[in-house]
Amino acid sequence: MDSNKIEALLKKYWEAETSQEEEQQLREWFRIHEAPEPWKETAAMFRYFDETKKKSLDDASFNATVVSHLPAARTGRVRKLVYNTLRIAAGVSVLCLATWFVHKEMQESTDPEVVDTYSDPKLAFEETKKALLLISQSFGKAEKQARKINMFNEAQEEIRKEKTTQEQKL
């Protein structure tokens, strides 16, 4: 590339109208060629840009430091998974316990009549029969006792009558 072309490119460069490719051509030209006196400072400027671009970090030790400071990817993910699972499990357990307590409470507060109700008519008949039999047996016992009391009353009545007849005779 001749110096006229470079001069034209430099003019565009100072006007901030050069493309990236044209700027690359300028950099390359000043890197290879010895710049004439009027462009000495411009050459120094391109050299300054090149030298600035050489500044770098120590590769191996810097990378190692960065990686050692990163929150561990895999353990982090596993920890997150375990944590989330535990949270869900805890939630489900609380829900189950609550349901169980509510169910228990409901059972305890239900009317005994409702609890002892039979859905099978045959069984209900049998159970009713048993209950009535039990009541009738109890009534039988009570009647026996009542008869004894009645006998005592009748005897008392007889004695009173006898007493009245004797008093009238006298």
């Binding site: 000495k40 400072e41 400027m45 300054y48 970090l57 430091t65 960065v66 990686v67 990163l70």
Partner: protein, 170 residues
């Protein structure tokens, strides 16, 4: 993104990030800390990386923001201008020429350091790192017009000062 692809895809951008942070902070240690923090943030936000079109520009933007934060938090401490040393030894050059080039580059460094911050960032991204205008817009969150105007002004200032240096042999 797993650790391996992070090491292969993201970590190689470290030198660009380092130079960009260095441009803001002037201290290699601070710049290194910022780059390390950038990588930790990128790692923590790695799930978003599939949605990001240009992740390198994204990393550069984080670098810029963290560097600015650090400047703000260190506001009591004066940020010192970058102490640049250049190794320009070449077999073809005499020791006198080498010293002359080194001094020119040092003066160019001072000219660039003296630019307003936005212009300094843009000239660095374009002339040192070779980013396209679109990428610079993305990194600095500026529109195209602002980028072009600031690059034009920056180059114009550099050119004027270089011309003075050349004319007065400064």
């Amino acid at each position: 993104m797993n650790l391996e692809s992070f090491q292969n895809r993201v970590l190689p951008a470290k030198n660009k990030l380092f130079r960009f942070a260095l441009r803001f902070l002037g201290s290699e240690e601070d710049a290194k800390d910022v780059v390390q923090e950038v990588f930790i943030r990128v790692w923590n936000g790695r799930e978003q990386m599939n949605e990001i079109q240009n992740w390198e520009a994204w990393c550069m933007r984080i670098t810029r923001n963290l560097s600015l934060d650090r400047i703000r938090s260190n506001s009591r401490r004066q940020t010192r201008p970058m102490e640049e040393t250049f190794d320009v030894r070449q077999e073809a050059l005499t020791p006198h020429e080498t010293t002359e080039i080194r001094e020119s580059m040092h003066r160019i460094g001072q000219i660039i350091e003296a630019l307003p911050e936005k212009q300094r960032q843009i000239i660095h991204l374009r002339d040192v790192e070779g980013y396209s205008y679109n990428e610079i817009c993305e990194i600095l969150e500026l529109d195209m017009n602002q980028v072009k105007v600031n690059l034009f002004r920056a180059r114009n200032t550099v050119r004027e000062k270089l011309t003075k240096m050349n004319a007065y042999g400064l």
